[in-house]
Symmetry: C2
Subunit: 178 residues, 2 copies
């Protein structure tokens, strides 16, 4: 079960993503075209305060033309490992430093057309410092409990996939009493 | 909090996705470039059998160069509504017809670079019929309980975002006894 590349053509090599079209040979002998977005990969962090609240960020997302409430996240820099990136993005977007960072899981948000892989972490022992947003980022910090987030997911007010995964995962690992 | 489009340039209009680069004006007066993948949108279905097992499909995903275990899913055809698409993809990929289809939620898997929206459904009252896969799809059907799926997610063997969201959502809505 695989698809051998017969021909590969780049249509865009961009600042963040590349787009290529692969002609592939299917196991049944036919050929097909695959449009593929190459992405550097990303991290997302569920930052949990001592009182159990989660630190979220609200920022405008041009592709969907609205401001979304999300867990802090960002793209991997060239050669950067996921832990370093997670610490950096958390600090830049929220000002918090994490005393403890735990891997949760890795997943593909859109494997039908992109190779993007998101590395998901849980951050605890948070200490507040200064935000350091890039010049083109305008980000608001929001604090919500996991159950408040679940309510917003069910109401359709939180629509970001990685935020839904991070919240459900956190809740699934909490002891039943909490 | 928004980003006005100053200039828009299409670099690719493809079979499934388009890629454009928008020059935007930020609220702070600066300009920035946004690479945006336009996607027609998709559906994903959590098909639940009377015994509680979930119907999954395994298929090769060229962007990530591996076969992934996922819930049935597919792209919206032009003008197609999400319910019709969900029924069609479920039938094509697994052979099952759903007597009952419930909306779960809608989410953006990758709002940082794509407008893709996934409409997630739960399908029950399933009746087996014939699969009708497209010529370039080679799809294997797999039946697993929700707890088996969670184990595979935790082991890093299920890596598809929509499958993780669908499974966690299903579990979060089950009565505590099940």
């Amino acid at each position: 079960m695989d698809e051998k590349t017969v021909e590969r053509k780049y249509v865009h090599k961009g600042r963040i993503i590349n787009l290529r079209v692969d002609k592939v040979l299917l196991p049944n002998g036919r050929e097909a075209l695959r449009e593929i977005v190459e992405h550097p990969g990303a991290v997302a962090v569920v930052p949990v305060l001592p009182d159990g609240r989660i630190v979220l960020v609200r920022q405008f997302r041009k592709p969907v033309e609205e401001a979304l409430l999300e867990i802090p996240a960002g793209k991997l820099e060239k050669g950067e490992n996921a832990e370093t990136c997670a610490m950096r993005e958390l600090k830049e977007e929220t000002g918090f430093r994490a005393g403890k960072l735990e891997k949760i899981l890795r997943f593909f948000p859109s494997p039908g057309f992109s190779d993007e892989c998101i590395h998901l972490f849980k951050a605890t022992e948070l200490q507040k410092g200064e935000k350091n947003t890039e010049h083109d980022e305008l980000i608001e910090t929001v604090f919500l409990s996991a159950s408040e987030i679940v309510k917003l997911i069910e109401e359709g007010k939180i629509k970001d996939g990685k935020t839904i995964i991070g919240t459900f995962y956190l809740l699934s690992t909490l002891p039943p009493s909490s």
